[in-house]
Amino acid sequence: MSNSLVTADRPGGVKPAGADVANDFVTMMVADQLFGIPVLTVQDVLGPQRITRVPLAPPEVAGALNLRGRIVTAFDVRRRLGLPKREADKPGMNVVVDFKGELYALMVDNVGEVLSLSADTYERNPNTLDPRWREVSGGIYRLKGKLLVVLEVSRLLAIKRGGVEAA
């Protein structure tokens, strides 16, 4: 994936000036699509976890898990995007994000590296995008050979449910 980088990712976590950090994304794969979340919103990346189901919860909420004594709500990104369930034999990963002081684990297929993306490769949401995707996408970055969809965490977690926006 690194060959597709516009700017090389920085090892050792040395952060460049603020403007650049805003364009650093944690990349992840969901059903063969590359997604990115701004690196600063990500708290943790976890392997497969034991998840407790929460009955009556919106379908997008897969359950709750324990992250070092904190209860994290597991959120099924595939479900949110209207994609089929992940095959049972593929374990999946969790990207833990902090949203309004609460932790959410976004369940994705795989987590890749952190990419620093240049603003001139950014495109706003094309109109032809599926409305459900447009709802959660914050735009698209043109990478070499593939496209990266920016996930807007706030909109991703806003499930329409009885008129009340979650969180």
Partner: protein
């Protein structure tokens, strides 16, 4: 030193510190109403606490100061120099008194009449305007060095000088100043004289103050809360470690872990202790309250308190303070009778209110008991019906204890007369809500004429609760232990087995039918149960007084858990009160018994308003489906009657049936209840058990003898064949069988000839027409609905004019409207008037039903647009009129 006194001193000194700065601010900023308000409040608090602690000197001074501030607050006085000085003087006096109090634990001897006099004089405006500046000048300078040149040097040397000298100097000062404004007012020497006393006491006070400050510190509650949370986390982590240790034998960690275990437990205990306060703190105001009440109400009341030292979490304490006060006030106000009534009832003149607190299994139990008159069930029942909490028919089926629970419903003022004591807005519903909010329960018991007792059960602390871990369909859940009454194992084929009525599960538990809810269904846990369905566990749960069983697959252990709120995204699921992490590290949802009870239909049976609020659609379905009781009597063919018409189902020994005037009667609830048979040929049993359907209206009961009660079904009532013989309205297909629907009116009239006027009348089949029946009495609605259905009308009912009008406005079509006149809220007259304003209903026939048949009523009915006016009990008349209208609908309407 007494805890209370120590707290008072710390608090008051703190408050005084604030006051000092605030008053100085006030002087610079005399027109700030917020500032005056806050000063007033502080002064008021001091006064209140002093009064409570029995410190008359302090109280009087604070009271006078408060008076003055009150005038300022109300804008009657301007906070000029003189006023501020006086207030500061009062504060200094309070400080000096406090310092003595701190040393000796008693107020110093002495009298503050002079100061109080001046404060009062000023407050009442007695001091004449010109004199004011003069009077003000001296004391002000004595306290805060004023910039005025001359007296200043004297001032600085002033403080440590012995009393008599200060007085002399001040006198001199006053004399100096006096010539400028004309008359030197008399009060001038007084403040100065008062001053030295205060000054002299001050130095001693300062020393003591620091002593108290050193032995206790005030810590922000947030710090404690935070500490508590951290400790809770630590406890959880320890639990996790211990769990791991259990699976590993001979681990080298076992020693250190045991120590960690102990230290953590002690730490937890220690932190809990910082939050613990004796419950007596919440009671401290009650003796005074009771004293005042007994004066105000002219009752003799003896308040007994036990277990003041019982400690509980301060957060909990704060939350139960108000409910407790309210309950005690209620006991004294409503519960206890006046001395003369008590004497008449053979009780001692002095009424008793008992307060008792004790620990019981991780909970605190607080009992509030009085030996008064108990609750007035009839009044509560009336009110419940009036408020629409339950229908008349339902009310008749409730036991007294069930009815008593209504006082916890919103909008229920138990006071017939609003006294100054009660009816102030804090209702019993608030009491219950507040207690339930902290995971507590409140139980009400009473005995007519003997007294009432409230039992409050609350958890010791909110942070850690004990919970029962259960499993259902492979998922684990925690149920707070406090709401769990008992556990029952039910197996198919044994004595404790789950039975079903129309798919609703029940369990026979000690001669009672316990409604069950399946956690599996309630939480929609999916199709796979994974566990042998022949065995299940029932967690008998209590919410308020509603007891029900939650069916689960397995029951594990109880565990101490830390309740954490659920994520905002899940907060609208009412079934969960929180979630937590168990010892094994897994997340578990905590069930909320209140939410489950509400979802399981407890609310549906108790609150009819909710149903009404659902409006149109609901009204339509209700009109189509009614609950029917199916029974057998005289023959194998099943018979049915609308369930809502039946007040109770009774079973009695056949030998208790007696005969009076050749007719069977039964002694029932202290009265003779006439019994009727399904037809004259029915043979009354002479032995064995006899089932009786009891119909009730107001004070009258009638029993219908039946062989067997078969079922209760909810069906769309479509009577197919009508008027077979007297007593039957026709036959309908119920549960797939032809069933005779009995005509209750017929039997009621057999028992009481005057119940409805003439009972049976033949009526012809007419084509199905849509009829809207508006009547606030469920009894009449239920009575008329089958009669009208059988007459060929598709009946929709509404229980208020407003509801009916809303239906019409919403576009529902009706061919005929039948409305009661006397209804709460919108009367029949108003309803008809409003209905006629709707274009579609201008011509629709509208019949009035009323028990009042005054000519003027009839006249008014015609005027507002009623087509016809029929006496309420004239069934025949109603049907005749309907027939006539159906025959020539438009013509009739035009008449």
């Amino acid at each position: 030193m007494d805890d209370l006194l120590r707290d008072f001193l710390t608090e008051t000194n703190e408050n005084l510190g604030v006051l000092d700065t605030e008053i100085v601010k006030l002087e610079q900023n005399p027109n700030d109403p917020g500032l005056v308000g806050s000063i007033f409040r502080i002064m008021h608090t001091i006064k209140g606490t002093c009064g409570f602690l029995g410190l008359p000197r302090l109280e009087k001074v604070a009271h006078a100061g408060e008076n003055l501030l009150d005038q300022i607050r109300d804008g009657k006085l301007i906070p000029n120099e003189q006023a501020v000085t006086l207030i500061l003087e009062a504060l200094d006096r309070i400080k000096s008194l406090l310092s003595v109090l701190e040393q000796t634990e008693a107020e110093p001897e002495g009298d503050d009449a002079d100061l109080i006099q001046r404060l009062n004089d000023y407050a009442s405006g007695k001091t004449s305007a010109p004199a004011a500046p003069a009077a003000a000048a001296v004391p002000l300078q004595a306290l805060a060095p004023a910039p005025s040149a001359e007296p200043e040097p004297d001032e600085h040397g002033f403080v440590p000088v012995p009393a008599h000298k200060t007085a002399a100097v001040a006198d001199a000062l006053a004399a100096q100043k006096a010539p400028e404004p004309a008359p030197a007012p008399a009060p001038v020497p007084a403040p100065v004289a008062a001053k030295p006393a205060a000054k002299a006491e001050q130095p001693r006070g300062e020393v003591a103050e620091s002593a108290v400050a050193a032995s206790s510190i005030r810590v922000n509650v947030d710090v404690l809360e935070n500490l508590m949370t951290m400790v809770s986390e630590l406890v959880l982590t320890r639990n996790q470690l211990l769990q791991i240790l259990r699976s590993q034998k001979d681990s080298e960690f076992s020693g250190p872990l045991q120590r960690l275990n102990h230290v953590t437990s002690e730490l937890q205990e220690g932190v809990m202790k910082t939050r613990m306060q004796p419950i007596g703190n919440a009671w401290s105001k009650l003796p005074r309250l009771i004293r005042d009440l007994s004066h105000e109400l002219g009752k003799k009341i003896d308040l007994q308190m036990h277990g003041q030292d019982t400690e509980l979490d301060r957060q909990v304490l704060e939350l139960i303070k108000d409910p407790l006060t309210h309950l005690v006030r209620n006991c004294a106000d409503h519960g206890l009778e006046r001395p003369e009534e008590r004497r008449a009832a053979g009780k001692p003149e002095v009424g008793r209110v008992n307060l008792n607190a004790f620990h019981e299994g991780g909970h605190i139990i607080i009992e509030i008991t009085d030996d008064g008159r108990g609750l007035n069930i009839d009044k509560i029942k009336q009110k419940a019906i009036q408020n629409g909490v339950c229908s008349e028919a339902e009310a008749a089926t409730f036991t007294d204890q069930q009815i008593a629970q209504f006082i916890f419903k919103a909008g229920f003022s138990t006071a017939a007369v609003v006294t100054s004591v009660s009816g102030r807005g804090v209702g019993m519903d608030v009491v219950r809500t507040n207690i339930e909010k902290i995971g507590g329960t409140v139980e009400l018991k009473f005995q007519r004429g003997k007294g009432t007792s409230f039992v409050i059960k609350i958890p010791l602390t909110l942070a850690i609760v004990s919970a029962l871990v259960v499993e259902c369909s492979g998922e684990r859940f925690a149920i707070p232990q406090i709401s769990v009454l008992e556990l029952v194992r039910a197996t198919a084929g044994s004595e404790t087995t789950i039975e079903r009525v129309n798919d609703s599960p029940f369990l026979r538990l000690r001669n009672r039918l316990l409604p069950l809810v399946s956690l599996h269904d309630m939480l929609k846990l999916g199709e796979d149960r994974g566990v042998d369905a022949s065995e299940s566990f029932i967690v008998v749960t209590q919410v308020g007084t509603y007891t029900f069983g939650i069916m689960v697959d397995r029951v594990f252990d109880t565990e101490e858990i830390v309740v954490k709120p659920v994520a905002p995204i899940l907060r609208d699921i009412s079934m969960f009160s929180g979630n937590t992490i168990l010892g094994d590290g897994s997340v578990i949802m905590i069930l909320d018994p209140n939410g489950i009870a509400a979802a399981s239909g407890e609310s549906a049976s108790m609150g009819e308003q909710a149903a009404a609020a659902q409006g149109d659609e609901r009204a339509r379905t209700e009109s189509q489906r009614i609950a029917l009781l199916v029974f057998r009597a005289g023959g194998q063919a099943p018979k049915a009657v609308p369930l809502s018409l039946i007040a109770r189902l009774e079973e009695t020994d056949a030998s208790t049936i007696e005969f009076s005037d050749g007719k069977p009667v039964l002694q029932y609830r202290g009265k003779l209840m006439p019994l009727v048979t399904i037809d004259p040929s029915y043979a009354i049993r002479s032995e064995g058990r006899q089932s009786i359907l009891v119909f009730a209206d107001r004070n009258r009961n009638m029993g219908l003898l039946v062989d067997e009660i078969v079922d209760i079904v909810e069906e769309r009532l479509e009577v197919e064949m009508n008027n077979v013989r007297p007593g039957m309205v026709g036959s309908a297909i119920i549960s797939g069988k032809a069933t005779d629907v009995i005509d209750t009116a017929h039997y009621l009239s057999l028992a009481f000839g005057d119940w409805f006027g003439k009972a049976d009348s033949p009526f012809g089949q007419s084509q199905s027409r849509r009829l809207l029946l508006v009547d606030d009495s469920p009894f009449f609605r239920n009575l008329l609905q089958p009669i009208l259905s059988v007459a060929g009308y598709e009946v929709t009912t509404a229980d208020t004019g407003t509801q009916a009008l809303a239906m019409c406005e919403a576009g529902r079509e009706f061919d005929i409207v039948v409305s009661d006149i006397e209804m709460p809220g919108m009367s029949g007259f108003e309803f008809a008037e409003a209905l006629r304003k709707i274009e579609r209903f201008r011509e629709t026939p509208v019949l009035a039903l009323s028990s009042h048949t005054h000519p003027q009523d009839i006249e008014r009915a015609r005027r507002v647009g009623f087509t016809d006016f029929i006496p309420k009990l004239d069934r025949e008349g109603l049907l005749a009129s309907l027939n006539e209208l159906s025959a020539g609908n438009r013509v009739a309407a035009a008449q």
